[in-house]
């Protein structure tokens, strides 16, 4: 029923204590938040706790939201701050090699050109069809990404935040964000590629 109502309008109602507005926001963002939180904490249960704690923060702090960023960015920033506090993640470092190539070096010949032709994917395939076919492998691949890459890809490509908002939420530089996004997407592409090759046989 509230599917089309804007976040801003729901916030106005939430400020006046409207329960249905709160539920509408929870319905809209809860699963996304759990997915994002999951990247920072050791397990699903802790992620759920962090998200619940974030909602408490939202209900109590809603009057302090000034609308300088979108609600979604504000929400995810609270979430990431709490998840970082709850997680052990800060002390762990991804092994992140900035020179790791997007495509395996043996796919190129000595001149740097493709050694074998690249088969075009059916680019006219309906997005929904693509998602239905590849969704499961893509989801697995996404969860298998190094965490910082996954954070960026999830916020950017799954949640649809702008690059500026991703930087604000994660507290990283624009350049860093781009490198992480590039690595993450490149890995996902190669997963889909091998998936296609397997199915084509």
């Amino acid at each position: 029923m509230d599917a089309d109502e804007s976040d801003e309008s729901l916030l106005v109602r939430l400020r006046s204590g409207d329960e249905s507005a709160f539920l509408a926001l929870v319905t809209r963002y809860h699963a996304s938040m759990v997915r994002v939180a999951r990247g920072f904490v050791p397990n699903e249960a802790v992620a759920e706790e962090v998200v619940q704690d974030t909602w408490v923060g939202v209900v109590r702090g809603v009057d302090r939201f000034e609308g300088r960023s979108s609600f979604k960015t504000w929400l995810f920033r609270i979430l990431v701050n709490r998840a970082r506090t709850a997680g052990v993640r800060e002390h762990r470092h991804d092994t992140f090699d900035p020179t790791e190539p997007a495509v395996r070096p043996d796919r190129f010949d000595a001149s740097g050109a493709w050694a074998e032709p690249i088969a075009p994917w059916e680019s006219d395939a309906d997005d929904r069809l693509v998602a239905a076919t590849w969704g499961p492998s893509l989801r697995t691949a996404l969860y298998g990404l190094p965490q910082r890459q996954r954070d960026v890809v999830v916020l950017r490509d799954v949640e649809g935040l702008s690059s500026e908002d991703v930087c604000a939420v994660l507290g990283i530089s624009e350049g860093n964000q781009r490198v992480l996004l590039h690595r993450g997407r490149s890995r996902l592409r190669s997963v889909l590629e091998s998936e296609l090759a397997t199915r084509g046989r």
Partner: protein, 96 residues
């Protein structure tokens, strides 16, 4: 520069795949963008690769979070009531 050295300006496929996302993000310098597009015009493989990356991004965007279960909805209604009734202020949200 001597005209003979102009070839150095041309990108090879191995370099192009590293620029694909900056291209999609519109983050290439004008010069790099021109070199990138020049390469694509002559290279069906890299054009296919770029298209694959576009499809990858689109497919990732279609991953939908699971819907909230009725149980969870009930739980959140209960929590909301508890939070608003027992609210002594003092949460620790940030401003935005």
């Amino acid at each position: 520069m001597m005209p003979a050295l102009r070839r150095r300006d041309e990108l090879v496929c191995r370099q192009v795949v590293e620029l694909v996302n900056d291209y999609l993000e519109d983050a290439l310098s004008r010069r790099d963008r021109r070199r990138f597009e020049r390469h694509l015009r002559g290279c069906p493989n890299c054009s296919a690769y770029l298209e694959q990356m576009r499809v990858t991004v689109a497919a990732t965007g279609r991953l939908s979070p699971e819907d909230l279960t009725p149980d969870a909805e009930e739980e959140f209604t209960r929590l909301f009531r508890a939070w608003t009734v027992g609210d002594g202020g003092g949460g620790s949200g940030s401003t935005g």
